[in-house]
Amino acid sequence: MVPMAASPVDAEVVLEARDVSMQYPGTLALDNVSFRLRRGRVSALIGENGAGKSTLVKVLAGIVQPTRGRLLLNGAPISMHSVRDADAHKIGIIHQELILCPNLSVAENIYLARELTVHGVLDKRRQEDRARELLARLEHPIDPRALVGELPLGQQQIVEIAKALARDVRILMMDEPTSALSAAEIAVLFRIIRDLTARGVAIVYISHRLEELLGVADYVSVLRDGRMVAEAAAADVDTRWIVEQMTGRPAGIAEAAGTAQCGPELLRVEALSLISDSGRPVLRDVSLSLRAGEVVGIYGLMGAGRTELLECLMGLHPAVAGSIFLGSKRLDRMDTSARISSGLAMVPEDRQVSGLVQSLSVLANMTLSSLGRFARGPWLSPASQEAAAAGMAAGLRIKGPGLGHNIGSLSGGNQQKVVIAKCLLTEPRVLLLDEPTRGVDVGAKREIHSIVKRLAASGMGIILVSSELEEVRAASTRLVVMSRGAITAEFDAAQATDDALASAASAGPDRTGERS
């Protein structure tokens, strides 16, 4: 037992960070942070992006070594120099970004670096059988031989979870494990968490979804600007308290989505249908109309076809049937670049892969879609690019070390704003947003929502895809629910109830893969 004067009487502390600081060039990511993990308990770690949550978890998992401070495992100081050391201490981590090898099978990923062998030869059969058992426990009968790169995002996240479970850990860090999961999948994950804690596993849980977090956590610790600002038992706090601790200011009441002044129809989609190469219907007869000043929220579960609908609008699926009109212009025979110049822009779901060029600066990313505007004859004009980018940075309140710095130097929320800025610089009439606040902290989320409202008020038409009920309700003027590739319901934002939305999202002729 660790002598811990101020700690409440509770389960023993298994892992403790004592006065840990982490100095990165230019930033102090962690400033004298102490954090305790208890046997069989879930400790939630909360904070805005850049508050130091991921850094603390990386320290606890041996991925980075703290500049100062100590780690104590069962009261004894330990030092970890790599994930292999953490592995030896039975400490595991589920990463925020999906960290898997797309070219390997599910089973090979799960057992990577700790392959099951017989006399030095891979025992593929046993790896696959064990992986199958693990996936069954997660209620996801994914074929262990399937290539990870060919799985949808949600299933990849399941694989990531299975990988951590396969290591039989005593301490497990979960850095936003639910960002790509549907509600049903989250419910399964929570059952697994309860199962693990019942067996004495200590869990660190990071999520931006505060309500979800309070449902699973025993303790709540709040980080702000690298400092531990508050710790409490989850039972004693509510989301309002958390938001106040995170931001350091009283929580504002979420603005009700105003019924905006709607202008003329901007976008009309008629009978879009898309059949996948394997013959499965992806979109079924989807028709939609969007007026100037309107924010249409599209809600649905994973695989409802929302992303594909946006992709079809942008011309990424040539096989789609149906027609698309932007104003009086017919878009469905145009290629993507022609659609962009006609006034359509999309903020894609995965900003790391599809939204940003990681090797370029903030400025270069921002102006990438609209370079034609900044050309003076054959040359690009640095001055006009900088002026436009600086204007965007000010307008969207993009915070970071500077426009000339690499895009990676920005936090997730600010990177997302850069993607939005890139779209806005093409001067779109219709903006498509696919999960614009995934992996973004509460503060940045609120800002993005207010940007959306501002843009709509200026006469832009916006389609907002989200799997967060709260988000579509807060930011949209009209709600469309999709399920199994078809639109199953439409609501006025004011009239939609959670129940009605949820049942429309799981409606459809032949639902498969949903578990109750």
């Binding site: 994930v83 898997l100 090898c101 070219n103 891979l122 799985l151 989250i186 419910a187 939305l501 109750s516």
Partner: protein
């Protein structure tokens, strides 16, 4: 949270099978390198009666063996996401090391003696020279984070220069060896036969089998694929990425040295220019065999088929009397065509994967 609500009366469907059954067409497409190989063999057999004779096939396979052994090592490097441009030079260097040791021995000036080694030791030292260059490549890439292209481009020059320095630009002739020095028998590496097959062909089979086994059936092999597929994921899973990268260059160096020994033994002479542009043939074999230059995807078996495609094409075109200049053009076209087909397959795979997402 949203409870999933099964529709009233809806029959809960069984979980969809996650692994698509591949259509026959897709299967054939995957085997395209093999099909191309058989097609080439069939065409040349029809066009030229000399093609399918034992004599011609033996020569053909002996030629293929040279490139195939280089390409096996190259496969590991490319699978890990790297490239090894130094293999041709390493082959030359290993040949010169072996040739020098057999022809003039190791002169120790300080002691005033000349040491001659037993043939097996000569072979081992030459392979060690290859491993050493590979180790330098590996250290440059893994420890000093030099881009593989640059690191091995440097070694390409340095190893070639070293070979020229050792022999002073000359050829070490007559590597028969002397019985009294215990260094005879070297030539059988290139010219000998065992169980009716030339030794170089046995060596190719051994390297191919060992390479395929290591790549497919050992944890090391999986980790090479993992590093090439997603280096960060491999690192965070506990794979010692630096060690893996180091090892693949050592493997490539040893394979290259083996090729240098075979050529020196075949010619009974070691020439410092041996192996120039061999690296390009090896890369071509790897790519033709379906290994992605981005790393993480491919196989040793594919590489061997790729080496045979190149070899059969060269041999058949010669037999048909096609001009040497056209041969070069055709080889280039075949490589590009193979990569286009590869891209088509990847796009097909991605499309089906994207469709699965729905």
């Amino acid at each position: 949270m949203i409870p999933a609500q099964p529709k009233e009366g809806a029959v809960p469907a069984p979980p969809a099978p996650r692994r698509r059954r591949m259509s026959a067409g897709a299967q054939l497409f995957r085997l395209r390198a093999l099909i191309v190989l058989f097609a080439l063999v069939a065409v040349f057999a029809l066009m030229s009666p000399a093609f399918l004779t034992t004599g011609n096939l033996t020569i053909l396979v002996k030629h293929v063996a040279i490139n195939a052994i280089l390409a096996v090592g190259m496969t590991f490097v490319i699978l890990s996401g790297g490239i090894d441009l130094s293999v041709g030079s390493v082959a030359g260097l290993a040949g010169i090391v072996a040739g020098g040791l057999i022809h003039s021995g190791l002169v120790l000036h300080s002691l005033g003696v000349v040491v001659y080694f037993h043939t097996w030791l000569v072979v081992a030292l030459a392979l060690l020279a290859g491993a050493l260059v590979g180790a330098i490549n590996g250290a440059l890439v893994s420890q000093l984070r030099v881009a593989p292209f640059i690191a091995t481009l440097g070694s390409l020059y340095v190893a070639r220069g070293a070979a020229l320095l050792i022999s002073n630009g000359a050829t070490f002739p007559n590597l028969t060896g002397k019985a009294e020095l215990g260094n005879t028998g070297f030539l059988s590496l290139g010219a000998g036969t065992a169980l009716g097959l030339p030794v170089p062909i046995w060596l190719m089979l051994a390297f191919a089998a060992a390479g395929a086994f290591v790549a497919e059936r050992t944890p090391f092999g999986r980790r090479v694929y993992a590093v090439g597929g997603n280096e960060r994921a491999a690192e965070l899973s506990g794979v010692r990425v630096k060690r893996i990268k180091f090892a693949v260059y050592v493997i490539s160096g040893v394979c290259a040295a083996m090729v240098g020994l075979i050529i020196a033994a075949q010619l009974a002479a070691a020439h410092p220019a041996t192996g120039e542009t061999f690296e390009l043939n090896a890369i071509a074999a790897v790519v033709l065999g379906g290994t992605s230059l981005m790393g993480g995807r491919g196989s040793v078996g594919g590489t061997i088929i790729g080496a045979f495609v190149i070899g059969v094409l060269a041999d058949g075109l010669i037999l048909m009397g096609v001009s040497e200049f056209w041969q070069i053009v055709i080889k280039g076209l075949v490589i590009v065509l193979a990569v286009i087909l590869d891209q088509m397959q990847q796009r097909y795979t991605r499309r089906t994967a994207a469709a699965l997402r729905s």
